[in-house]
């Protein structure tokens, strides 16, 4: 059983699981938090929101910070409406947004996407800030954030800046945040008929093979189509959006947009799905998501249908 492949190899395994240790710091104010981050040597400190991603990564040996900075005491657990604009503090548990009827009615796609994150007990800790911070390619929320033109308010040593979500996301575990910056809040500029659909091997707690978010925004150009389950991250498909010219695109237009989306997206093959299957799924799911979004439009064609 030996033979040509044999060679020698010394191995050291990294300790994982319950054996990790780190120091936890729990600053009481945003400024204190930013100050602590600025002081810490690069790569030695991690930010803890709800921890559902970070602690998992630490257990798997993918992150090994010496310090963990908790956002628990910061005053960012809020969701408030300013007219049609929704501002969500970065540390608000997703469960709170899910329970908010107004979110369900005015941003049905966001509500659907939130309900698709893990399980209720996970959502009682998991946050929007953490989802953005993790920037997972398979995230269920990021496509929807992109489709809704969400903006991210970032707090750092030199104050606050605000950027479109698209400029914040980079790749898995990487955003454009500086080492001493924190996501303070996420802003959804307007209510919008929207829809999120995904395909997984299983409906709950699974990783989406593909996620499709569609939205119809009040200002032109109205249509948004964004995809998740792509490498390196979720993204908008403007070419496919361009096919849609009216508030009520025909079935043919919807189909063409879906096909354009499938053509344009760059997929990868991994153990969850092959590249060609993902392409196939997108063609189907974009069409379905658009159709649902159209059904959710206010207007003479019947009352708006809330999500589920």
């Amino acid at each position: 059983m030996s033979g040509p492949f044999a060679h020698r190899k010394a191995i050291n395994r990294r300790p994982v699981g319950v054996c990790v240790s780190f120091q936890l710091v729990q600053p009481a104010t945003p400024d204190e938090a930013v100050g602590l981050l600025a002081k810490a040597p690069a790569g030695e400190i991690s930010v803890l929101g709800g921890g559902t991603d970070l602690l998992f990564d630490i257990d798997q040996g993918r992150a090994s910070p010496r310090q963990v900075l908790s956002l628990r005491k910061l005053p960012w657990r809020y969701a408030r409406w300013e007219g049609a604009t929704l501002v969500v503090g970065s540390t608000l548990p997703l469960r709170a947004l899910e329970m908010d009827r107004r979110v369900q009615q005015q941003l049905p796609g966001l509500w659907e996407a939130i309900r698709d994150v893990g399980s209720p007990a996970l959502r009682s800790r998991a946050t929007l800030g953490g989802n953005v911070g993790r920037c997972a390619p398979a995230s269920d929320l990021l496509p929807m954030l992109i489709a809704l033109d969400a903006r991210v308010r970032i707090l750092g040593p030199s104050g606050v800046r605000e950027h479109p979500i698209d400029l914040v996301l980079q790749e898995s575990r990487k955003t454009s945040l500086g080492p001493a910056e924190l996501i303070e809040s996420i802003i959804f500029p307007s209510a919008a008929p929207s829809c999120y659909v995904w395909q997984r091997v299983q409906p709950v707690n699974d990783i989406s093979q593909v996620g499709v978010a569609t939205a119809f925004l009040p200002d032109a150009p109205h249509w948004r189509i964004a995809l998740g389950g792509l490498q390196p991250r979720a993204r908008r498909l403007s070419e496919a959006e361009a096919v849609l010219r009216s508030a009520r695109p025909t079935h043919l237009e919807q189909e063409l947009a879906a096909q354009e989306a499938a053509r344009r997206a760059e997929f990868v093959t991994d153990r969850r799905a092959t590249e060609s299957y993902r392409r196939r799924l997108v063609a189907v799911m974009v069409r379905r998501a658009l159709q649902t979004t159209v059904e959710r439009m206010p207007g003479p064609r019947g009352p708006r249908k809330a999500a589920r």
Binding site: A6, A10, Q199, V201, V204, N205, R271, V284
Partner: protein, 730 residues
Amino acid sequence: MRSDAEPKARGAVEYGADLEAPGMLWAALVRSPVAHGRIVHLDLAPARKMPGVVAAVGPDDLRTLLPKAALEAERPVFPLQEIRYLGEPVAAVAAQTLAQARRAAAAVKLDVETLRVDARIEDIFPEWPSAASAHDPHVVGHVHARYGDVDGKFRTADLVHSETYRTSGVHQVAIEAHACLAEIRDGTFCIRSSTQTPFGMREDVASVLGIPESKLLVEGSWVGGGFGGKGSAFLEPYALLLAIASGRPVKLALSYAEEFELGRTTLPAIIRLDTAVSRGRMVGRRVRLLLDTGASLPGRDFAVGYSIGFLLGPYRTEAYEIEGYALQTNKPPFGPHRAPFAPQSVFALESHIDGLARRLGTDPIEFRRLHAWRENDRTAYDQPVGPFGLEAGLEAAARTAAVWRTGLPAGHGIGVACGFWSTGVGAGGEARLFLQPDGLVILEGEREIGNGSVVQGLAIVAQRVLGLPASAIRVQYGDTATAPFDSGVYGSRTLAALGQAVEKAARNLEKSLASRVGVPEVRLELKNGQVVVVAGRRRQKLVDLLTPAERAAGGLESHGKHYGAEKKVDASRVLEGTVYPYNDFAASVHLAEVEVDRETGHIGVVRYAAFQDVGTAVDRTSVVSQVEGGIVMGLGTALSEEMMWTPEGRLANPGLLDYRLPRIRDAPPIHVDLIEGFAGAGPFGAKGIGEPPIIPVPAAIANAVADATGTRVFELPLTPERVARALKLL
């Protein structure tokens, strides 16, 4: 209501994971990072220097800590040289805390020479093995059996139906991972463990460590799910070795990642089936099976011999040839998993038969009925078939299917599949009952593992014989030193086999009491908390019938034994290897209605029905819940569960993130129809029910998909992508 339900729901019972002892150390395993290699150098010194570490043991320590026999064991506790799968434990450490133990395990220096990895059976035998292949070093088991004029049947057949099926590795995934605690008390080696088989464990640990059984004591804790995975020695030898080395109690519990990587579960297989048909009937079959048995010991393989018969099914077979190979690969060893390999075999066979029926234009249920075993038919190995509810099940299924057919929406399909199982009634067991003035105690060596067969089933058997109310019967658990011997909770045998021992012990009690009263038979009642012996109109308190010695001992003891004789097969049909006789015959017929998304390949299970031949339902609630549980577990095998190994032998999905189990919303409405009247070998005619309900599930789903789409999927699990490929969507 089960007596263990409420304490469990309150979180008040102690499972293996909860075990604790004063002064206890925590253990961690040092596991191989390669799937195949030779140990060049293993250095435990760095681990021994780590904070909190009390003991570290590796292959070299076997010599000093254990009798010589331990090194001569066919496979010693730690590999002395060759590493056979990724994650194989090569050493173990014990420290004050789990964190310290894990850190120390990571500090161990292991230098290995890597060897070529054989991770996939199709790479070992890209073509079907020939006669010469039997000598291939990968072949660790070979079974070959033949009966009748197979070649003739195929030559003269109207039609030959040939297909190849593939199945995947699936894991038991008990929610509680393996855990045990070992310590030395007064010179006795004591193991507490979450195990289905305390006595089997004692035998196994003794032989692996080379210590006499008399010095070993095993006590079962409550078991957080077994499904075959918590059988014989697994973690216990490591924990005991560390306890010997440290002189302290040692707890060893696996993480989920370890649970997956150490396996002992169902592994992939390739199954080729050819069926000869003449005048609309199946007249001959060829079966060829390649079964991955991972790093299993040569010659120890029961899997091929046991499963290959299931590829002929519960159907009359005029002529057949079956040949199966167990192949060694660099994966963890194959292990028993709820009806080992039967759901996979039956997926292949019942898909095959279903496709054949459709090809012939015959109704699939009718086609099966045409061939179904009836009582006194002969099995493939020439055993007489016992009372068997298959035909009755098929008839009931046909009625339900007809109802479902009316108004079946487009895109939906209905599938049927049959299974049969032979309960392990042969395996022996003994029972000890103790009748006290205020109630009956059943003393047991093994814990209830969940299905209710111990805590509920045995109590009901005693109750039916003696007549006491359930509240007056208590199951008490002992260890291997105090409790009567039993083979364990596995193979659907507990109620059917051990139940017979309890039944005998209860009858002995009754006889003894009857003779004291001077009548042919008595019954027991409970009156004001006192056991009363009733004979016709005469009633006497139990206490008044006891001798002074019995009164001093606290009650009347009685024993019962059941050592079933193994049935025999016709050895002339077996050309090579071992096949196993069937000891009892339980039939299952399942119906599934699915909805297939024709654009994405996604399968939704709309509803499900199971017609289960139970002999006699000793406890209806337990049986129904057991059937439902088996079905939903089977839906996992059918739709989503798949262990994925890379060519380097690394398990790519060692956790629930990518190994998908059914959740509450995946469970369809399930109609359970218990078929009674075909008596089994168990008490009151009961048949084992632990394993049968999972068996036909993958096949029923696959057949429903074929019904909905006209397309067959030849590989498990039926993930959306596989279905989409079969539908030629990509």
